[in-house]
Protein backbone atom coordinates (compact mmCIF):
# COMPACT_ATOMS: atom_id res chain seq x y z
CA UNK A 1 0.00 0.00 0.00
CA UNK A 2 1.71 3.16 -1.13
CA UNK A 3 1.62 5.72 1.58
CA UNK A 4 1.50 9.45 1.47
CA UNK A 5 -0.01 9.91 -1.98
CA UNK A 6 -3.54 9.73 -0.67
CA UNK A 7 -4.11 11.07 2.83
CA UNK A 8 -7.68 9.82 3.09
CA UNK A 9 -7.35 6.09 2.83
CA UNK A 10 -7.44 5.51 -0.90
CA UNK A 11 -10.75 7.15 -1.62
CA UNK A 12 -11.29 10.06 -3.96
CA UNK A 13 -14.75 10.77 -2.61
CA UNK A 14 -15.42 14.48 -2.53
CA UNK A 15 -17.46 14.11 0.65
CA UNK A 16 -14.57 12.36 2.43
CA UNK A 17 -12.18 15.12 1.37
CA UNK A 18 -14.67 17.79 2.44
CA UNK A 19 -15.03 16.25 5.88
CA UNK A 20 -11.34 15.50 6.24
CA UNK A 21 -10.29 19.10 5.60
CA UNK A 22 -12.60 20.17 8.45
CA UNK A 23 -12.24 17.19 10.82
CA UNK A 24 -9.22 15.04 9.89
CA UNK A 25 -10.57 11.68 11.05
CA UNK A 26 -9.81 9.91 7.77
CA UNK A 27 -6.22 11.09 7.50
CA UNK A 28 -5.78 10.29 11.21
CA UNK A 29 -6.93 6.68 10.69
CA UNK A 30 -4.77 6.43 7.57
CA UNK A 31 -1.72 7.64 9.48
CA UNK A 32 -2.18 5.75 12.78
CA UNK A 33 -3.75 2.47 11.64
CA UNK A 34 -2.77 1.97 7.99
CA UNK A 35 0.63 3.46 7.25
CA UNK A 36 1.72 3.17 10.88
CA UNK A 37 5.08 1.39 10.80
CA UNK A 38 5.44 -1.66 13.04
CA UNK A 39 8.43 -3.95 13.56
CA UNK A 40 8.28 -6.75 10.99
CA UNK A 41 9.00 -9.53 13.49
CA UNK A 42 5.92 -9.61 15.75
CA UNK A 43 4.97 -13.08 16.99
CA UNK A 44 1.47 -14.20 18.00
CA UNK A 45 1.81 -12.70 21.47
CA UNK A 46 1.45 -9.28 19.82
CA UNK A 47 -2.21 -10.11 19.03
CA UNK A 48 -3.56 -9.42 22.47
CA UNK A 49 -3.88 -5.65 22.21
CA UNK A 50 -6.32 -6.08 19.34
CA UNK A 51 -8.06 -8.97 21.11
CA UNK A 52 -8.53 -6.83 24.24
CA UNK A 53 -9.92 -3.94 22.20
CA UNK A 54 -12.45 -6.30 20.65
CA UNK A 55 -13.40 -7.74 24.05
CA UNK A 56 -13.86 -4.28 25.59
CA UNK A 57 -16.29 -3.33 22.83
CA UNK A 58 -18.07 -6.68 23.18
CA UNK A 59 -18.40 -6.23 26.96
CA UNK A 60 -19.78 -2.70 26.60
CA UNK A 61 -22.26 -3.83 23.92
CA UNK A 62 -23.55 -6.89 25.79
CA UNK A 63 -23.57 -4.88 29.04
CA UNK A 64 -25.74 -2.09 27.63
CA UNK A 65 -28.31 -4.60 26.35
CA UNK A 66 -28.27 -6.50 29.67
CA UNK A 67 -28.82 -3.23 31.54
CA UNK A 68 -32.05 -2.77 29.58
CA UNK A 69 -33.42 -5.89 31.32
CA UNK A 70 -31.69 -5.86 34.71
CA UNK A 71 -33.20 -4.51 37.98
CA UNK A 72 -30.66 -3.06 40.46
CA UNK A 73 -32.79 -3.71 43.52
CA UNK A 74 -32.12 -6.38 46.15
CA UNK A 75 -35.72 -7.62 45.93
CA UNK A 76 -35.66 -7.95 42.13
CA UNK A 77 -32.04 -8.37 41.01
CA UNK A 78 -31.66 -12.16 41.30
CA UNK A 79 -35.01 -12.83 39.62
CA UNK A 80 -34.34 -10.32 36.87
CA UNK A 81 -31.16 -12.20 35.94
CA UNK A 82 -33.10 -15.46 35.83
CA UNK A 83 -35.71 -13.71 33.68
CA UNK A 84 -32.92 -12.64 31.31
CA UNK A 85 -31.82 -16.27 31.14
CA UNK A 86 -35.29 -17.75 30.52
CA UNK A 87 -37.63 -15.18 29.01
CA UNK A 88 -35.67 -12.45 27.23
CA UNK A 89 -34.95 -13.16 23.55
CA UNK A 90 -31.31 -14.25 23.35
CA UNK A 91 -30.95 -13.13 26.98
CA UNK A 92 -28.98 -16.31 27.73
CA UNK A 93 -26.54 -15.38 24.98
CA UNK A 94 -26.10 -11.79 26.17
CA UNK A 95 -25.48 -12.95 29.73
CA UNK A 96 -23.16 -15.82 28.92
CA UNK A 97 -21.18 -13.60 26.53
CA UNK A 98 -20.85 -11.00 29.28
CA UNK A 99 -20.03 -13.51 32.01
CA UNK A 100 -17.45 -15.43 29.95
CA UNK A 101 -16.26 -12.22 28.31
CA UNK A 102 -15.03 -11.06 31.72
CA UNK A 103 -13.07 -14.28 32.14
CA UNK A 104 -11.52 -14.06 28.68
CA UNK A 105 -10.77 -10.36 29.17
CA UNK A 106 -8.58 -11.33 32.13
CA UNK A 107 -7.02 -14.25 30.24
CA UNK A 108 -6.06 -11.81 27.48
CA UNK A 109 -4.90 -9.07 29.87
CA UNK A 110 -2.67 -11.50 31.80
CA UNK A 111 -1.12 -12.92 28.61
CA UNK A 112 -0.60 -9.34 27.38
CA UNK A 113 1.18 -8.45 30.65
CA UNK A 114 3.38 -11.56 30.77
CA UNK A 115 4.28 -10.84 27.13
CA UNK A 116 5.37 -7.37 28.25
CA UNK A 117 7.44 -8.89 31.07
CA UNK A 118 9.15 -11.50 28.89
CA UNK A 119 10.13 -9.06 26.15
CA UNK A 120 10.86 -6.11 28.47
CA UNK A 121 8.21 -3.94 26.84
CA UNK A 122 7.96 -1.76 29.97
CA UNK A 123 11.51 -0.42 29.62
CA UNK A 124 12.42 3.07 28.43
CA UNK A 125 10.86 4.75 26.56
CA UNK A 126 7.67 2.78 27.28
CA UNK A 127 7.37 3.24 31.09
CA UNK A 128 4.22 5.37 30.90
CA UNK A 129 2.68 3.00 28.37
CA UNK A 130 3.17 0.15 30.86
CA UNK A 131 1.88 2.22 33.79
CA UNK A 132 -1.28 3.13 31.87
CA UNK A 133 -1.71 -0.59 31.29
CA UNK A 134 -1.55 -1.21 35.05
CA UNK A 135 -4.21 1.50 35.50
CA UNK A 136 -6.39 -0.39 33.00
CA UNK A 137 -5.81 -3.60 34.99
CA UNK A 138 -6.90 -1.88 38.22
CA UNK A 139 -10.01 -0.39 36.58
CA UNK A 140 -10.85 -3.76 35.01
CA UNK A 141 -10.58 -5.45 38.41
CA UNK A 142 -12.85 -2.86 40.03
CA UNK A 143 -15.34 -3.21 37.17
CA UNK A 144 -15.33 -7.01 37.33
CA UNK A 145 -15.72 -6.97 41.10
CA UNK A 146 -18.76 -4.67 41.00
CA UNK A 147 -20.25 -6.57 38.08
CA UNK A 148 -20.03 -9.83 40.00
CA UNK A 149 -22.19 -8.33 42.76
CA UNK A 150 -25.09 -7.48 40.41
CA UNK A 151 -26.65 -10.99 40.01
CA UNK A 152 -27.14 -10.88 43.81
CA UNK A 153 -26.24 -14.51 44.41
CA UNK A 154 -24.54 -15.86 47.52
CA UNK A 155 -21.02 -15.34 46.14
CA UNK A 156 -22.02 -11.86 44.92
CA UNK A 157 -23.08 -10.87 48.42
CA UNK A 158 -20.31 -12.49 50.41
CA UNK A 159 -17.55 -11.62 47.95
CA UNK A 160 -18.69 -8.00 48.19
CA UNK A 161 -18.80 -8.24 51.98
CA UNK A 162 -15.25 -9.54 52.21
CA UNK A 163 -13.78 -7.12 49.66
CA UNK A 164 -15.48 -3.97 50.98
CA UNK A 165 -14.46 -4.96 54.51
CA UNK A 166 -10.83 -4.82 53.34
CA UNK A 167 -11.10 -1.05 53.64
CA UNK A 168 -11.97 -1.32 57.34
CA UNK A 169 -8.30 -2.21 57.86
CA UNK A 170 -7.32 1.40 57.10
CA UNK A 171 -6.31 3.03 60.42
CA UNK A 172 -8.69 5.58 61.97
CA UNK A 173 -11.05 6.18 59.03
CA UNK A 174 -11.50 2.55 57.92
CA UNK A 175 -15.01 2.03 59.30
CA UNK A 176 -16.20 5.38 57.93
CA UNK A 177 -14.92 4.42 54.47
CA UNK A 178 -16.79 1.11 54.60
CA UNK A 179 -20.03 2.84 55.67
CA UNK A 180 -19.55 5.32 52.83
CA UNK A 181 -19.05 2.48 50.32
CA UNK A 182 -22.13 0.62 51.60
CA UNK A 183 -24.44 3.57 52.12
CA UNK A 184 -25.64 1.72 55.19
CA UNK A 185 -24.49 -0.71 57.86
CA UNK A 186 -24.24 -3.78 55.70
CA UNK A 187 -24.21 -4.64 51.99
CA UNK A 188 -27.78 -3.81 51.03
CA UNK A 189 -29.93 -2.07 48.46
CA UNK A 190 -27.98 1.24 48.43
CA UNK A 191 -24.78 -0.75 47.79
CA UNK A 192 -26.30 -2.71 44.90
CA UNK A 193 -27.62 0.50 43.37
CA UNK A 194 -24.32 2.35 43.38
CA UNK A 195 -22.38 -0.70 42.21
CA UNK A 196 -24.69 -0.88 39.20
CA UNK A 197 -24.16 2.81 38.43
CA UNK A 198 -20.37 2.51 38.77
CA UNK A 199 -20.22 -0.79 36.86
CA UNK A 200 -21.86 1.04 33.96
CA UNK A 201 -19.44 3.98 34.24
CA UNK A 202 -16.10 2.21 34.64
CA UNK A 203 -15.85 0.57 31.19
CA UNK A 204 -15.99 4.03 29.66
CA UNK A 205 -13.16 5.13 31.96
CA UNK A 206 -11.26 2.04 30.75
CA UNK A 207 -11.98 3.09 27.18
CA UNK A 208 -10.51 6.52 27.91
CA UNK A 209 -7.34 5.07 29.40
CA UNK A 210 -7.07 2.66 26.44
CA UNK A 211 -7.04 5.72 24.15
CA UNK A 212 -4.15 7.16 26.20
CA UNK A 213 -2.45 3.73 26.14
CA UNK A 214 -2.63 3.68 22.32
CA UNK A 215 -1.47 7.29 21.98
CA UNK A 216 1.55 6.50 24.16
CA UNK A 217 2.17 3.36 22.10
CA UNK A 218 2.15 5.29 18.84
CA UNK A 219 4.68 7.79 20.18
CA UNK A 220 7.38 5.23 20.96
CA UNK A 221 6.18 2.51 18.59
CA UNK A 222 5.73 -1.15 19.49
CA UNK A 223 8.39 -3.27 21.13
CA UNK A 224 9.14 -6.57 19.37
CA UNK A 225 10.41 -10.07 20.24
CA UNK A 226 14.05 -8.99 19.80
CA UNK A 227 13.64 -5.86 21.91
CA UNK A 228 15.79 -3.98 19.36
CA UNK A 229 14.46 -0.67 18.04
CA UNK A 230 13.72 -0.50 14.29
CA UNK A 231 16.59 1.29 12.56
CA UNK A 232 14.80 2.09 9.33
CA UNK A 233 12.18 1.00 6.79
CA UNK A 234 13.91 -2.36 6.27
CA UNK A 235 12.92 -3.28 9.85
CA UNK A 236 9.23 -2.43 9.64
CA UNK A 237 6.03 -3.10 7.72
CA UNK A 238 2.90 -0.98 7.57
CA UNK A 239 0.23 -1.90 10.08
CA UNK A 240 -2.32 -2.42 7.32
CA UNK A 241 -2.59 -4.94 5.73
CA UNK A 242 0.13 -6.91 7.52
CA UNK A 243 -0.91 -6.67 11.15
CA UNK A 244 -4.60 -6.03 10.57
CA UNK A 245 -4.56 -9.46 8.93
CA UNK A 246 -2.42 -11.13 11.57
CA UNK A 247 -4.56 -9.63 14.36
CA UNK A 248 -7.71 -10.85 12.60
CA UNK A 249 -6.43 -14.42 12.45
CA UNK A 250 -5.44 -14.38 16.13
CA UNK A 251 -8.75 -12.80 17.08
CA UNK A 252 -10.67 -15.46 15.16
CA UNK A 253 -8.86 -18.23 17.04
CA UNK A 254 -9.36 -16.53 20.40
CA UNK A 255 -13.05 -15.86 19.81
CA UNK A 256 -13.56 -19.46 18.67
CA UNK A 257 -12.17 -20.70 21.97
CA UNK A 258 -14.34 -18.24 23.88
CA UNK A 259 -17.40 -19.28 21.88
CA UNK A 260 -16.75 -22.91 22.81
CA UNK A 261 -17.14 -21.93 26.47
CA UNK A 262 -20.10 -19.59 25.88
CA UNK A 263 -22.09 -22.28 24.05
CA UNK A 264 -20.90 -25.55 25.56
CA UNK A 265 -19.58 -24.81 29.07
CA UNK A 266 -20.92 -21.38 30.04
CA UNK A 267 -20.61 -21.96 33.79
CA UNK A 268 -17.18 -23.59 33.67
CA UNK A 269 -15.51 -20.58 35.32
CA UNK A 270 -18.48 -19.80 37.58
CA UNK A 271 -19.44 -20.79 41.12
CA UNK A 272 -22.59 -22.94 41.58
CA UNK A 273 -23.14 -21.10 44.88
CA UNK A 274 -23.97 -17.92 42.94
CA UNK A 275 -27.16 -19.54 41.63
CA UNK A 276 -28.50 -19.28 45.20
CA UNK A 277 -29.98 -15.89 46.04
CA UNK A 278 -28.01 -13.73 48.50
CA UNK A 279 -28.79 -14.58 52.13
CA UNK A 280 -27.32 -11.97 54.52
CA UNK A 281 -27.54 -14.26 57.58
CA UNK A 282 -25.97 -17.32 56.01
CA UNK A 283 -22.30 -17.30 54.98
CA UNK A 284 -21.30 -20.03 52.50
CA UNK A 285 -18.79 -22.51 53.87
CA UNK A 286 -16.05 -21.48 51.42
CA UNK A 287 -16.01 -18.01 49.92
CA UNK A 288 -13.87 -17.86 46.79
CA UNK A 289 -13.51 -14.95 44.40
CA UNK A 290 -13.56 -15.34 40.63
CA UNK A 291 -10.48 -17.16 39.30
CA UNK A 292 -8.79 -14.00 38.04
CA UNK A 293 -8.60 -12.62 41.60
CA UNK A 294 -7.28 -15.83 43.18
CA UNK A 295 -3.53 -14.96 43.16
CA UNK A 296 -4.23 -11.64 44.87
CA UNK A 297 -6.67 -13.30 47.27
CA UNK A 298 -3.92 -15.80 48.14
CA UNK A 299 -1.52 -12.95 48.94
CA UNK A 300 -4.18 -11.31 51.14
CA UNK A 301 -4.68 -14.52 53.13
CA UNK A 302 -1.01 -15.41 53.38
CA UNK A 303 -0.19 -12.44 55.61
CA UNK A 304 -1.88 -13.89 58.72
CA UNK A 305 0.74 -12.69 61.18
CA UNK A 306 1.52 -9.26 62.65
CA UNK A 307 4.52 -7.43 61.17
CA UNK A 308 5.97 -5.11 63.84
CA UNK A 309 3.13 -2.72 64.67
CA UNK A 310 1.06 -3.63 61.58
CA UNK A 311 -1.77 -6.00 62.42
CA UNK A 312 -2.28 -9.09 60.27
CA UNK A 313 -5.49 -7.71 58.74
CA UNK A 314 -3.91 -4.45 57.58
CA UNK A 315 -0.74 -6.31 56.54
CA UNK A 316 -2.72 -8.60 54.25
CA UNK A 317 -4.48 -5.68 52.62
CA UNK A 318 -1.20 -3.80 52.13
CA UNK A 319 0.38 -6.92 50.60
CA UNK A 320 -2.55 -7.45 48.22
CA UNK A 321 -2.62 -3.89 46.93
CA UNK A 322 1.19 -3.82 47.00
CA UNK A 323 1.20 -6.80 44.63
CA UNK A 324 -0.41 -4.56 42.00
CA UNK A 325 1.36 -1.32 42.87
CA UNK A 326 4.77 -2.98 42.56
CA UNK A 327 3.93 -3.30 38.86
CA UNK A 328 3.87 0.50 38.57
CA UNK A 329 7.55 0.70 39.52
CA UNK A 330 8.61 -2.39 37.54
CA UNK A 331 10.34 -0.25 34.85
CA UNK A 332 12.69 1.09 37.54
CA UNK A 333 13.25 -2.20 39.37
CA UNK A 334 14.53 -3.99 36.26
CA UNK A 335 17.85 -2.29 35.64
CA UNK A 336 19.02 -4.49 32.78
CA UNK A 337 19.65 -2.50 29.57
CA UNK A 338 18.52 -5.47 27.44
CA UNK A 339 14.80 -5.72 26.83
CA UNK A 340 14.05 -9.18 25.45
CA UNK A 341 14.49 -12.29 27.61
CA UNK A 342 15.86 -13.96 24.45
CA UNK A 343 19.18 -12.31 25.25
CA UNK A 344 18.95 -12.59 29.05
CA UNK A 345 19.99 -16.16 29.91
CA UNK A 346 19.31 -15.85 33.66
CA UNK A 347 16.23 -13.60 33.61
CA UNK A 348 14.60 -16.05 31.21
CA UNK A 349 14.57 -18.71 33.94
CA UNK A 350 13.36 -16.32 36.61
CA UNK A 351 10.53 -15.25 34.29
CA UNK A 352 9.24 -18.82 34.07
CA UNK A 353 9.68 -19.33 37.82
CA UNK A 354 7.65 -16.16 38.38
CA UNK A 355 4.92 -17.38 36.01
CA UNK A 356 4.74 -20.72 37.88
CA UNK A 357 4.68 -18.76 41.15
CA UNK A 358 1.62 -16.80 39.95
CA UNK A 359 -0.15 -20.02 38.89
CA UNK A 360 0.60 -21.56 42.30
CA UNK A 361 -0.76 -18.42 44.01
CA UNK A 362 -3.95 -18.93 42.02
CA UNK A 363 -4.11 -22.53 43.24
CA UNK A 364 -3.51 -21.40 46.84
CA UNK A 365 -6.24 -18.74 46.59
CA UNK A 366 -8.84 -21.31 45.57
CA UNK A 367 -8.29 -23.77 48.45
CA UNK A 368 -9.05 -23.63 52.18
CA UNK A 369 -5.95 -22.52 54.10
CA UNK A 370 -5.63 -25.70 56.16
CA UNK A 371 -5.96 -28.21 53.31
CA UNK A 372 -2.87 -30.27 52.46
CA UNK A 373 -1.02 -29.09 49.34
CA UNK A 374 -2.02 -31.19 46.28
CA UNK A 375 -3.67 -33.64 48.70
CA UNK A 376 -0.26 -34.59 50.08
CA UNK A 377 0.99 -34.63 53.65
CA UNK A 378 -1.06 -32.97 56.40
CA UNK A 379 1.87 -30.97 57.73
CA UNK A 380 2.44 -29.04 54.47
CA UNK A 381 -0.75 -27.01 54.17
CA UNK A 382 -2.02 -24.48 51.64
CA UNK A 383 -1.11 -21.64 54.01
CA UNK A 384 2.56 -22.74 53.97
CA UNK A 385 2.64 -22.79 50.18
CA UNK A 386 0.96 -19.37 50.41
CA UNK A 387 3.85 -18.02 52.53
CA UNK A 388 6.43 -19.28 50.03
CA UNK A 389 4.66 -18.10 46.88
CA UNK A 390 3.77 -14.70 48.36
CA UNK A 391 7.37 -14.19 49.44
CA UNK A 392 8.60 -15.15 45.97
CA UNK A 393 6.12 -12.81 44.24
CA UNK A 394 7.67 -9.82 46.00
CA UNK A 395 11.22 -11.20 45.97
CA UNK A 396 11.06 -11.48 42.18
CA UNK A 397 10.38 -7.76 41.82
CA UNK A 398 12.29 -6.35 44.77
CA UNK A 399 15.35 -8.64 44.96
CA UNK A 400 15.80 -10.74 41.79
CA UNK A 401 15.22 -8.05 39.16
CA UNK A 402 17.50 -5.36 40.67
CA UNK A 403 20.29 -7.93 41.24
CA UNK A 404 20.01 -9.37 37.72
CA UNK A 405 20.50 -5.86 36.36
CA UNK A 406 23.90 -5.87 38.04
CA UNK A 407 25.14 -9.46 37.78
CA UNK A 408 23.59 -10.92 34.62
CA UNK A 409 25.74 -10.98 31.46
CA UNK A 410 23.37 -10.62 28.51
CA UNK A 411 24.05 -12.37 25.23
CA UNK A 412 25.01 -10.20 22.26
CA UNK A 413 22.00 -8.37 20.85
CA UNK A 414 21.51 -8.29 17.04
CA UNK A 415 22.36 -5.04 15.32
CA UNK A 416 18.95 -4.73 13.76
CA UNK A 417 15.66 -6.54 13.29
CA UNK A 418 16.24 -7.12 9.57
CA UNK A 419 19.71 -8.57 10.22
CA UNK A 420 18.27 -11.02 12.74
CA UNK A 421 15.15 -12.09 10.88
CA UNK A 422 16.45 -11.98 7.27
CA UNK A 423 19.87 -13.36 8.17
CA UNK A 424 22.45 -10.90 6.92
CA UNK A 425 22.69 -7.15 6.74
CA UNK A 426 20.72 -5.37 4.06
CA UNK A 427 23.42 -3.02 2.86
CA UNK A 428 21.10 -0.91 0.77
CA UNK A 429 19.04 0.01 3.76
CA UNK A 430 22.01 0.79 5.96
CA UNK A 431 22.19 4.27 4.51
CA UNK A 432 18.84 5.18 5.97
CA UNK A 433 19.47 3.43 9.27
CA UNK A 434 19.60 5.60 12.34
CA UNK A 435 22.78 5.45 14.40
CA UNK A 436 22.75 2.41 16.60
CA UNK A 437 22.08 3.08 20.23
CA UNK A 438 23.83 1.17 22.94
CA UNK A 439 21.83 -1.84 23.98
Amino acid sequence: MSAGTNQTGGTNSGLVKWIDSRLPVFSYLQKEYAEYQSPRNFNWFWNFGAILTFLLVMMIMSGIFLAMQYQPNTALAFDSVERIMRDVNFGWLLRYLHQNGATFFFIAIYIHMFRGMYYGSYKAPRELLWMLGVVILLLAMATAFMGYVLPWGQMSFWGATVITNLFSAVPLVGDSIVTLLWGGFSIDNPTLNRFFALHYLFPFLIFGVVVLHVIALHVSGSNNPLGVDPKGPQDTVSFHPYYTMKDSVGLAVFVTIMAAFVFFAPDFFGEPENYLEAAPLNTPAHIVPEWYFLPFFAILRSVDFDILFIEAKLGGVIAMFGAIFVLFVLPWLDKSPVRSAKFRPVYKWFFWIFLIDCVLLGYVGGKPTDAPVFGGVESFQIIHLGYITTFWYFAHFLIVLPLLGIFERPKPVPKSISEAVLGGGSSGAAATAKPMEKA
Binding site: T161, V162, N165, F185, P190, P280, L281, T283, R301, A312
Partner: protein, 181 residues
Protein backbone atom coordinates in the same frame (compact mmCIF):
# COMPACT_ATOMS: atom_id res chain seq x y z
CA UNK B 1 11.72 43.63 26.81
CA UNK B 2 14.47 43.85 29.38
CA UNK B 3 12.11 45.64 31.78
CA UNK B 4 9.61 42.88 31.36
CA UNK B 5 12.20 40.23 32.12
CA UNK B 6 13.16 42.02 35.28
CA UNK B 7 9.54 42.20 36.39
CA UNK B 8 9.09 38.47 35.84
CA UNK B 9 12.24 37.59 37.70
CA UNK B 10 11.24 39.70 40.69
CA UNK B 11 8.60 37.36 42.07
CA UNK B 12 8.91 37.79 45.80
CA UNK B 13 5.73 39.13 47.32
CA UNK B 14 4.27 40.87 44.31
CA UNK B 15 0.57 41.77 44.12
CA UNK B 16 0.21 39.25 41.29
CA UNK B 17 1.51 36.39 43.50
CA UNK B 18 -0.97 37.35 46.15
CA UNK B 19 -3.81 37.34 43.62
CA UNK B 20 -2.72 33.94 42.22
CA UNK B 21 -2.53 32.36 45.66
CA UNK B 22 -5.77 33.80 47.00
CA UNK B 23 -7.65 32.96 43.79
CA UNK B 24 -6.24 29.43 43.90
CA UNK B 25 -7.18 29.02 47.57
CA UNK B 26 -10.73 30.23 46.96
CA UNK B 27 -10.98 27.92 43.96
CA UNK B 28 -9.87 24.94 46.03
CA UNK B 29 -12.34 25.74 48.80
CA UNK B 30 -15.10 26.18 46.24
CA UNK B 31 -14.28 22.87 44.57
CA UNK B 32 -14.27 21.10 47.93
CA UNK B 33 -17.62 22.68 48.85
CA UNK B 34 -19.06 21.62 45.50
CA UNK B 35 -17.83 18.04 45.90
CA UNK B 36 -19.09 17.66 49.47
CA UNK B 37 -22.80 17.06 48.65
CA UNK B 38 -21.85 14.37 46.14
CA UNK B 39 -19.65 12.46 48.58
CA UNK B 40 -22.12 12.97 51.41
CA UNK B 41 -24.97 11.54 49.33
CA UNK B 42 -23.18 8.19 49.40
CA UNK B 43 -23.36 7.98 53.21
CA UNK B 44 -26.38 6.31 54.88
CA UNK B 45 -29.56 8.21 54.11
CA UNK B 46 -32.17 9.30 56.67
CA UNK B 47 -34.37 6.25 56.13
CA UNK B 48 -31.40 3.93 56.61
CA UNK B 49 -30.30 5.84 59.67
CA UNK B 50 -33.80 5.98 61.18
CA UNK B 51 -33.23 4.39 64.52
CA UNK B 52 -34.22 0.76 64.34
CA UNK B 53 -34.62 -1.33 67.45
CA UNK B 54 -35.43 -4.99 67.75
CA UNK B 55 -37.23 -6.57 70.69
CA UNK B 56 -36.46 -10.21 71.31
CA UNK B 57 -38.48 -12.69 73.37
CA UNK B 58 -36.07 -14.98 75.20
CA UNK B 59 -38.61 -17.19 76.99
CA UNK B 60 -38.41 -19.93 74.34
CA UNK B 61 -34.62 -20.15 74.36
CA UNK B 62 -33.37 -23.24 76.17
CA UNK B 63 -30.21 -23.70 78.16
CA UNK B 64 -27.23 -23.87 75.80
CA UNK B 65 -29.28 -22.75 72.80
CA UNK B 66 -28.21 -19.94 70.48
CA UNK B 67 -30.54 -17.84 68.35
CA UNK B 68 -29.90 -15.31 65.56
CA UNK B 69 -31.92 -12.12 65.19
CA UNK B 70 -31.54 -9.35 62.62
CA UNK B 71 -30.80 -5.82 63.75
CA UNK B 72 -29.98 -2.99 61.30
CA UNK B 73 -29.44 -5.60 58.60
CA UNK B 74 -26.86 -7.36 60.73
CA UNK B 75 -27.11 -10.72 62.45
CA UNK B 76 -27.06 -10.62 66.28
CA UNK B 77 -26.14 -13.82 68.12
CA UNK B 78 -27.90 -14.46 71.43
CA UNK B 79 -26.44 -17.34 73.45
CA UNK B 80 -28.04 -18.74 76.62
CA UNK B 81 -24.79 -20.03 78.00
CA UNK B 82 -24.39 -23.21 80.01
CA UNK B 83 -22.54 -23.02 83.35
CA UNK B 84 -19.51 -24.73 81.73
CA UNK B 85 -19.39 -22.13 78.95
CA UNK B 86 -19.63 -19.31 81.52
CA UNK B 87 -16.92 -20.94 83.62
CA UNK B 88 -14.60 -21.22 80.59
CA UNK B 89 -15.21 -17.60 79.60
CA UNK B 90 -14.64 -16.25 83.11
CA UNK B 91 -11.55 -18.28 83.92
CA UNK B 92 -9.60 -17.26 80.80
CA UNK B 93 -6.53 -15.19 81.77
CA UNK B 94 -6.45 -11.81 80.02
CA UNK B 95 -2.87 -12.44 78.93
CA UNK B 96 -4.08 -15.10 76.51
CA UNK B 97 -6.33 -12.65 74.66
CA UNK B 98 -5.51 -10.64 71.56
CA UNK B 99 -8.19 -8.06 72.43
CA UNK B 100 -8.23 -8.26 76.26
CA UNK B 101 -11.68 -7.94 77.83
CA UNK B 102 -13.07 -9.78 80.83
CA UNK B 103 -16.25 -11.75 80.41
CA UNK B 104 -17.98 -9.46 82.97
CA UNK B 105 -17.37 -6.48 80.68
CA UNK B 106 -19.13 -8.25 77.81
CA UNK B 107 -22.42 -9.33 79.42
CA UNK B 108 -25.24 -7.82 81.48
CA UNK B 109 -25.96 -11.19 83.12
CA UNK B 110 -23.58 -14.12 82.68
CA UNK B 111 -26.35 -16.37 81.38
CA UNK B 112 -27.01 -14.25 78.26
CA UNK B 113 -24.31 -13.32 75.75
CA UNK B 114 -25.42 -10.89 73.04
CA UNK B 115 -22.91 -10.15 70.24
CA UNK B 116 -23.04 -8.91 66.67
CA UNK B 117 -22.44 -12.02 64.56
CA UNK B 118 -20.03 -10.49 62.06
CA UNK B 119 -16.42 -11.61 62.00
CA UNK B 120 -14.17 -8.64 62.73
CA UNK B 121 -11.79 -9.76 60.02
CA UNK B 122 -13.71 -9.28 56.78
CA UNK B 123 -17.36 -9.44 57.75
CA UNK B 124 -18.44 -13.06 57.28
CA UNK B 125 -21.03 -14.57 59.60
CA UNK B 126 -19.20 -17.10 61.82
CA UNK B 127 -20.52 -20.64 62.26
CA UNK B 128 -21.58 -22.08 65.62
CA UNK B 129 -25.20 -20.99 66.08
CA UNK B 130 -26.30 -24.60 65.70
CA UNK B 131 -24.72 -27.31 67.82
CA UNK B 132 -24.02 -29.27 64.63
CA UNK B 133 -21.79 -26.53 63.21
CA UNK B 134 -18.08 -26.09 63.74
CA UNK B 135 -17.64 -23.94 66.86
CA UNK B 136 -13.86 -23.68 66.70
CA UNK B 137 -11.25 -24.73 69.21
CA UNK B 138 -12.72 -22.67 72.07
CA UNK B 139 -16.36 -23.77 71.71
CA UNK B 140 -17.63 -20.34 70.67
CA UNK B 141 -17.76 -19.52 66.99
CA UNK B 142 -15.63 -20.33 63.96
CA UNK B 143 -15.44 -18.14 60.87
CA UNK B 144 -15.16 -20.37 57.79
CA UNK B 145 -13.90 -17.61 55.52
CA UNK B 146 -10.40 -17.16 56.90
CA UNK B 147 -10.38 -19.37 59.98
CA UNK B 148 -10.93 -17.09 63.00
CA UNK B 149 -11.82 -18.82 66.29
CA UNK B 150 -13.93 -17.08 68.99
CA UNK B 151 -14.47 -18.33 72.54
CA UNK B 152 -17.70 -18.63 74.56
CA UNK B 153 -17.52 -14.92 75.31
CA UNK B 154 -17.20 -14.07 71.59
CA UNK B 155 -13.55 -13.07 72.05
CA UNK B 156 -11.01 -13.60 69.29
CA UNK B 157 -8.57 -16.40 70.16
CA UNK B 158 -6.94 -17.50 66.90
CA UNK B 159 -6.90 -16.49 63.24
CA UNK B 160 -6.67 -13.20 61.33
CA UNK B 161 -9.51 -11.26 63.03
CA UNK B 162 -8.11 -8.43 65.20
CA UNK B 163 -11.04 -7.77 67.59
CA UNK B 164 -13.68 -9.52 69.70
CA UNK B 165 -17.21 -9.83 68.34
CA UNK B 166 -18.76 -6.44 69.16
CA UNK B 167 -21.56 -6.01 71.69
CA UNK B 168 -24.61 -4.12 70.37
CA UNK B 169 -26.38 -1.63 72.65
CA UNK B 170 -29.14 -3.57 74.42
CA UNK B 171 -31.17 -3.64 77.64
CA UNK B 172 -33.36 -6.13 79.47
CA UNK B 173 -37.03 -5.07 79.36
CA UNK B 174 -37.86 -7.84 81.85
CA UNK B 175 -36.43 -11.24 82.71
CA UNK B 176 -37.34 -12.81 79.38
CA UNK B 177 -37.03 -10.08 76.75
CA UNK B 178 -34.41 -7.63 75.57
CA UNK B 179 -34.42 -4.59 73.31
CA UNK B 180 -31.46 -4.21 70.94
CA UNK B 181 -30.60 -0.73 69.71
Amino acid sequence: MSDDTQDHDDHSGSRRDFLYLSAGAFGAVGLGAALWPFISSMNPSADVLALSTTEVDLSQVEDGQRITVKWQGKPVFIDRRTPTAIEEAESTPLAELRDPETDEERVLTPEWLVVIGICTHLGCVPLGQKASEDRGEWGGWFCPCHGSHYDTSGRIRKGPAPLNLPIPPYAFLNDTSIKIG
